[in-house]
């Protein structure tokens, strides 16, 4: 910028009122961060926190990149395209086990003590599937292999007399699962909300929920967290703290308001799910902090299913912000 032009700009901005100048300075001091997320009910604390201005209050300007499938998030985080990413615990640990240097920076959600929770194992009413034993040699739909849904479904099969190694897990996206089940392409499916409720409404004479493998095999078990790379955390400790604080503020709002009309509007705004579809669906438990023991449980479970070889310690993977109780 040329000198006279700069002088002119400074002059004009000085002439503009104090309030405008104040706003300008404030906007400049905002730190820009990019968060990779999935537009689902689980990411409510983040998305509503952004909409309510909680991140701005902490000096953060958040640019979210929603990836509806979620598959591109962790590789993009590793490549430095995002500063933070939402991830299910299993996929995050799998990535860490493969050598990606991630740490958990905030909690995400858990499942409840018992079902109904955020995903149910559905089967045909006349299909004769009532336990894991009935699924040996059968086909079960999961949205992705080696993620949280898959490992909980596998654990349920083993726990109820079956053998997960003798079940064929087929990858089918959530929106198509009930169709595949009704049309006999699979014998059971790990379906999440809102597709579970919609599927039951459309086909109450054909399909049923057999189990809630998430809470049946791991009551109050972990589901998801937010992760960042070790490098980014080391270089930006204050940004991490601000992010965690703003996120906790979002969680706080969600815990106080979930189920209300305002909540439905806020979730509908970013998921585009019609508000009435959100009424009555089972919600995840939104956590304020991570409980390291639960992460360790998942590590142990992943060892058992041989998708994790590295000897990980939960305590080493959790950044202090994920353990801190922020108050508002």
């Amino acid at each position: 910028m040329s000198q006279p032009r700069r002088a002119f700009l400074i002059g004009t901005s000085a002439a503009i009122g104090v309030s405008v100048l104040g706003a300008g300075v404030r906007a400049q001091s905002l730190t820009k961060i990019r968060v990779g997320t999935i537009p689902i009910v689980d990411s409510a604390p983040l998305m509503i926190g952004i909409a309510k201005g909680f991140f701005r209050d902490e000096g953060l300007e958040v640019d979210t990149t929603p990836a509806p499938g979620g598959a591109a998030l962790l590789p993009s985080l590793a490549a430095g395209q995002f500063n933070f990413a939402f991830a299910n615990t299993t996929s995050a640990l799998l990535a860490i086990g493969e050598g990606l240097e991630f740490k958990f920076v905030t909690a995400g959600c858990s499942t409840g003590a018992k079902g109904p929770d955020l995903a149910g194992l559905m089967a045909r009413i006349d299909g004769g599937v009532n336990s894991g034993k009935d699924l040996v040699g059968k086909r079960v739909a999961v949205n992705n292999r080696n993620n949280i849904m898959w490992i909980r479904a596998a654990a349920w099969v083993d726990r109820t007399g079956g053998d997960a190694g003798r079940v064929t897990f087929v990858e089918i996206p959530f929106p198509q699962m009930v169709d595949a089940l009704v049309n006999n392409q699979v014998d059971a499916a790990m379906v999440n909300e809102p597709f579970l409720t919609v599927g039951l409404q459309n086909h109450d004479d054909k399909v049923k929920v057999v189990s809630w493998p998430m809470s049946d095999t791991a009551p109050n078990g972990v589901v998801s967290e937010y992760v960042a790379t070790k490098d980014y955390i080391a270089q930006n400790p204050q940004v991490i703290d601000k992010f965690a604080r703003a996120f906790a503020h979002g969680t706080d709002w969600v815990l106080k308001n979930k189920g209300t009309t305002e909540w439905e509007q806020a979730v509908s705004a970013y998921t585009k799910i019609a508000p009435e579809r959100l009424r009555g669906i089972a919600l995840p438990v939104y956590d304020r902090v991570i409980e390291p023991r639960k992460i360790q449980d998942m590590i142990d479970l992943m060892h058992k299913y041989k998708i994790l070889k590295a000897d990980l310690k939960a305590a080493d993977l959790i950044h202090p912000t994920a353990l801190k109780q922020y108050t508002f």
């Binding site: 990779g36 537009p39 689902i40 979210t64 990149t65 929603p66 990836a67 509806p68 499938g69 591109a72 998030l73 590789p75 993009s76 490549a79 395209q81 996206p173 959530f174 929106p175 198509q176 009930v178 169709d179 009704v182 809102p194 597709f195 919609v198 599927g199 459309n202 086909h203 998921t271 585009k272 799910i273 019609a274 579809r277």
Partner: protein, 250 residues
């Protein structure tokens, strides 16, 4: 004319049987909404929703990537035809890369170029590049030798040879390549938007699917189909004017 009308009738019959199969309960699925609901969603989202913005984002991304791809394709194709050494050196690479489906290149491109427009436009440009480059190369190197011999006899200046013989003989090939690229690039634009990012028809498709709004998802699909049809028609009309002397059988 009759053939055209029967084509439209067939489309109408197919849409009608879709409507009936959905309304009658013959096919009950959240993913099979009646056509009337899709059209209603189309109008509603275009008027009050953000469908127009969504389409605009896709079209602008497509236009930039496509123009870069076909320009580069035409230039490279021409150079290869004129400089056989370069052609021999680079042809194996081109022939190896060409059959790779563009969506398969997306993961490595995300690593290097991110998830934003840079990655998307690059993949669109790469897709549009190959058909044009290869067609141009074949067209430019396949110019009738007699014409060139005649030009030599008359000692025509090289610039004139280029403009009067090589370019007119190559243009039909270039345009054919551009038309193949058009459809491919449109598909890849939508696919790239499905991976990540918050705009465009591809993103909208996935978002609507996960929001249990399949009627709105199909509305976007109808829009893509219409876009493809219109772009192709515009292209054909332009092609007829540009190379009026090169009339393929009607």
């Amino acid at each position: 004319m009759l053939a055209r009308r029967s084509g439209l009738i067939l489309i109408a019959v197919l849409l009608l049987s879709w409507e009936i199969s959905s309304r009658s309960g013959l096919i009950t699925s959240e993913n099979w909404p009646p056509v009337s609901a899709i059209l209603a969603g189309l109008v509603r989202e275009a008027l009050y929703g953000d469908l127009l913005q969504v389409i605009g984002a896709t079209l602008s991304r497509f236009a930039v990537g496509y123009l870069i791809g076909i320009s580069a394709g035409a230039i490279v194709g021409f150079i290869f035809a004129l400089v056989p050494f370069l052609r021999r050196m680079l042809e194996p690479i081109i022939e190896l890369v060409r059959p790779i489906p563009a969506p398969a290149l997306i993961p490595p491109l995300v690593l290097f170029l991110g998830v934003d427009d840079l990655m998307k436009i690059t993949i669109i440009a790469v897709t549009a590049f190959f058909p044009v480059a290869i067609n141009t190369m074949q067209g430019a190197s396949g110019v009738e030798p007699t014409y060139l011999a005649v030009a030599r006899t008359f000692q025509t200046v090289p610039a004139r040879v280029l403009m009067k013989i090589i370019v007119p003989n190559t243009l039909p090939y270039v345009l054919a390549g551009m038309r193949i690229s058009l459809a491919l690039a449109l598909v890849v634009t939508v696919v790239s938007e499905m991976i990540a990012g918050a705009s465009g028809v591809g993103y909208y498709l996935v978002l609507m699917q996960y929001a249990v709004r399949s009627a709105d998802m199909y509305a976007a699909i109808f829009v893509i189909a219409a876009l493809g049809y219109v772009l192709n028609s515009v292209f054909l009309a332009a092609e007829r004017r540009l190379i009026f002397w090169y009339a393929p059988e009607p």
